[in-house]
Subunit: 291 residues, 2 copies
């Protein structure tokens, strides 16, 4: 329960450099540093449509600012007024809500390249919290920058829209998981989802990636108790479907896992947008450039 702002005994951790203030301003735009190639957002958005060189620049500039937070800290708390948008650059976080009875439901995990989130600033108060799981590096993005982006960069806007839609698709998939799948199916689905999302930002090695989650956190996501998560994990291990040690997960048999989850489709929409739509935004981009 007393988990908010709790700080796990975790030894010397990177402390926050710029705790809560100083929103990005546009001054050091064309700074001398070369574009940091750690921009997972760029990588993710590229799945939607090929971005131009200047698009990359714009996005890299957006991601240039940086704040660090330790593990197990709430970045954004239920009931507060949302301050700004964050781009997660490294580490893992979660979007969750504490229930009055002490339970917790994790709605989604945030991984590098994810924005948390695009549009909360339209709301009067947060209806959930965002907390770190590992230490994270984030780029704070001001409301003004977002508005600027949507106003002047149609192709990026479209890609961001698409990304938001993908997130919504993930939310829907989770509803299906919780509503219609048993424990095995839920876990199998979640592991596949995390694999694919990590793959989309280049954080996988084949079917292997880092998964720094406790069984309690998995349970709070899947609507299961940690005890039961443990049992299902054991079953998966015994059936040689997965391997999970040292916080590293290998999916040994994705096909079977998908079958257990009852899914077979390109539900994450990595295919991008229909060609005519992509062309449309491309045209918008050129018109704006011509002016």
């Amino acid at each position: 329960m007393p988990r908010q702002f709790g700080q796990r005994s975790a030894g010397p951790q990177p402390l926050l450099e710029t705790p809560m203030a100083r929103v990005a301003d546009n001054r050091d735009q064309r700074s001398s540093r070369p574009p940091p190639s750690d921009n997972s957002l760029t990588r993710k958005l590229s799945h939607f449509a090929p971005l131009s060189g200047s698009d990359h620049q714009v996005l890299d500039r957006l991601a240039a600012q940086e704040e660090r937070f330790p593990a197990n800290l709430d970045i954004s708390v239920d009931g507060m007024v949302p301050r700004s948008v964050f781009l997660l650059k490294e580490g893992m976080a979660m979007r969750y809500r504490n229930m009055p009875d002490g339970g917790r439901q994790i709605m989604t995990f945030l991984i590098p390249g994810d924005l948390c989130d695009m549009h909360v600033f339209l709301l009067k108060e947060m209806d959930h919290s965002i907390g770190t799981i590992t230490p994270v590096r984030v780029a704070p993005i001001s409301r003004e920058n977002i508005v600027e982006l949507f106003g002047h960069h149609p192709r990026i806007s479209a890609a961001l829209w698409w990304s938001a839609l993908q997130e919504e698709a993930i939310l829907r998939e989770r509803i299906i998981s919780l509503g219609r799948r048993d424990a095995r199916g839920r876990l199998a689905y979640l592991l596949c989802e995390l694999l694919w999302r990590h793959a989309a930002v280049g954080l996988t090695d084949g079917e292997v990636f880092r998964l720094p989650l406790t069984q309690t956190e998995l349970g709070d996501t899947l609507g299961l108790t940690p005890v039961h998560v443990n049992r299902v994990l054991r079953e998966f291990r015994e059936r040689r479907l997965i391997t999970l040690e040292q916080r590293t997960l290998s999916l040994l048999d994705v096909g079977t896992l998908q079958a257990i989850a009852g899914l077979n489709k390109d539900y994450l929409h990595f295919g991008g947008a229909p060609a005519d739509i992509a062309r449309y935004f491309d045209r918008l981009e050129k018109e704006r450039a011509a002016r």
Copy 2:
């Protein structure tokens, strides 16, 4: 599960006038008919920010076109390319997905004033279906109209964004329901949600409104079997919390129901946006008008 395009034996029902074709074109825009005052969308969006007279006109024009569909018909099918956006003007529909094992998960119900949905046209194919529950009247809205709206009417755009966010909040709430609430809590929450959403578009009479859902449909929403839904409904009736007959639902004790669901907050964000954001879009609107 031969339910798609299935058509319940349901007697003389309003048949479809324009079955599947003819997406809205802009020809009869300024038709002679007076603005239909049945625009639930306007009513819903007004909760966000006061709309101007011309905003009302724009929205009424958008809702002028009309198609009718009978009950139990899929308007939009999983796997197909989304055609256009619909504004639901009357009746009830649902967003759902059929599982390979024959199950069905309903993700949300669509009621008058809902758009289904804003942005699917960015995707290559639908990852779920939209089907009618009762006969419905919808206004088809073309991609061009949407783009036009977002391009030229900032205040309406902002209101639509807000409405989309509200929908997302509802999705999140459903995740919480399915993940962390027991059968009683889930049902209690769903009934409250439906009451408030109906109230927002003026379709309630106190705590009473029409609920044309079968227990099977409730179960497919809540992740429960119809049998169990029946039992929980019985319990609620016996505890004098609700009344449900002739497809009319009365919530006799909303407070207790909320308590059972474990919710107490203004989670639907009917409060609208923070004042400074509202002002911002207002200013945008004026700038555009000045040009």
